[in-house]
């Protein structure tokens, strides 16, 4: 595969982490415009760990994910109890604050006669772990998709677990969830931490993929894109956001011939798609129908034929 295709696939893999991070919060009904902040924190943390402290890659990625999770809990504490819209705007404000703080953040160590490390708006160059340790583009691609597979498996398991059910209940109606004995606040914080760690991990991978970070990369565009993927692809399962990413970057790359007009076509397409399927392609109803169809195939007893449709509120 030529380098360009590997590059695109790597981008798709890395962005999927932030899409899954926003998806996880959408599960509990929280709309976050700020996952790019934890993506940035993870990227800088992992970049510093390998480029400045010489840590091995897996430890650096773990460190990035942990920092993302911790930051998510810290910002989640005062905001998760807020009403949906206020939480969305609070996360936007927090993410912009993180970006502006990174514009002031300077921490450099001289290695080999050269200052290496974040230098405010000039960015953070030289995260050269994959070159120093001879990690080829294909190997790094395998690492990205390996981690993504693990995360997806984890999310699929979560879907079937009690915790997954608790998340969806909170997403539907937090008061009702509390009435059913779910510790709503704790579950929300856990979801925020998981989402923050996911974004942090994605950030760490991104830092090593591009070897170069700059605060402007992590502005509101990235966060809103992450949110949009889940809503385009559908919130039925963890695959939904990935479909959103494929449509977005897959589409952007494939209609490269309209170089200048991509966003015009893509923007219009998303708007029309959301009219037809306001809850995304793979939404809960479709997933439920597929589930019933599959259970029919495998001979499991099927629930009664015309399941009652929910009466709109």
């Amino acid at each position: 595969m030529d380098d360009y295709l590997v590059g695109v696939l790597s981008n798709i893999g890395v962005i999927s982490f932030i899409a899954l991070s926003a998806y996880l919060l959408l599960l509990i009904g929280a709309i976050s415009f700020g996952q790019q902040a934890f993506f940035a924190i993870g990227a800088y943390a992992a970049g510093i760990a390998t480029a400045l402290w010489g840590w091995p890659l897996w430890l650096a990625l773990g460190w990035g994910a942990a920092m993302g999770g911790v930051a998510a809990v810290l910002v989640g504490l005062p905001t998760l109890r807020l009403h949906g819209l206020y939480f969305a705007i609070a996360t936007l404000a927090f993410a912009e604050m993180v970006r502006l703080l990174f514009e002031q953040f300077r921490y450099q160590v001289t290695i080999d006669g050269e200052p290496v490390g974040p230098n405010g708006t000039d960015g953070f160059r030289g995260i050269r772990y994959i070159f120093e340790n001879d990690v080829g583009p294909l190997q790094f691609l395998a690492l990205i998709y390996g981690l993504l597979a693990v995360v997806l498996a984890g999310l699929m398991l979560l879907e079937r677990s009690r915790l997954g059910a608790a998340f969806r209940m909170i997403g539907e109606d937090p008061t009702l969830a509390a009435l059913n004995g779910i510790a709503v606040a704790r579950a929300q914080l856990l979801a925020a931490a998981l989402a923050g760690a996911l974004a942090g991990l994605g950030g760490g991978l991104y830092a090593h993929l591009t070897t170069y970070l700059e605060p402007r990369i992590f502005d509101v565009m990235l966060g809103v894109h992450g949110l949009a993927y889940g809503l385009i692809g559908g919130l039925g399962t963890a695959l939904g956001p990935l479909i959103g990413v494929l449509i977005d970057i897959g589409m952007l790359e494939s209609i490269r011939v309209f170089a200048g007009y991509r966003m015009i076509i893509f923007g219009g397409l998303v708007a029309v798609l959301l009219i037809v399927r306001p809850r995304g392609l793979l939404d809960e109803r479709l997933v439920h129908r597929i589930g019933r169809a599959c259970s029919g195939l495998f001979g499991r007893p099927r629930p009664d034929k015309n399941g009652a449709e929910r009466k709109p509120a």
């Binding site: 015309n306 009652a308 449709e309 009466k311 709109p312």
Partner: protein, 238 residues
Amino acid sequence: MLEISDLVTAYGKIEALKGVSLRAESGRITCLLGPNGAGKTTLMMSIAGILQPQRGAIRLDGVELTGLTPARIVTAGVALVPENRLVFPRMSVRENLLAGAYQRKDKAEVAIDAERMYARFPRLRERREQLAGTLSGGEQQMLAVARALMSRPRVLLMDEPSLGLAPLVVAEIFRIVAELNRDGTTIFLVEQNAHMALQVAHHFFLMEQGRVTFSGTPGQLAEDEVIQRAYLGARRAG
């Protein structure tokens, strides 16, 4: 005269109205009795145009209303006093009345009608500049009725006006319903309070699970049988 023929309204696949036919004669009080979930509010919302029926027709004095937007239905002369009142909470009583006459162009007449409403509902005059949200249940009900009357409707639909009100206030509401009818307003009343409704109604219908199961005048059925059939579900054979 308001005429409903074979009306079917569904939420997705669930048919809330399974072919309802009934009439509300002009100048009379017609009442619709039935338990919760019989489809009474669905019928009211279908008449008012908030819900679009799948089949059947709604006509007012021969004019077809089915499929019109709520605004056009108000122009045709229908006014609905909705279930649990839906006053405009953060607007004053006066502004709620003005909103009721939103479609009317005759500003002077509207002012006279407003005075007339204050005369009929003295409590509203006292609370004229107060935010509607701060009124008591009974006062909000009177405001909702007054607001509906401000559009000078040919027929006034009332969806469970006694809901959640103290007995004293319920008696007051029904006195007003009778008084409005005496002044010439055709009223189509949906109620669960069968006892009070039967005292004012000239004609009534019973409804169960989206179907009309009885039509007649209060005298025809003894009150207890009405209640027994409407709420306790008479044996089909009976």
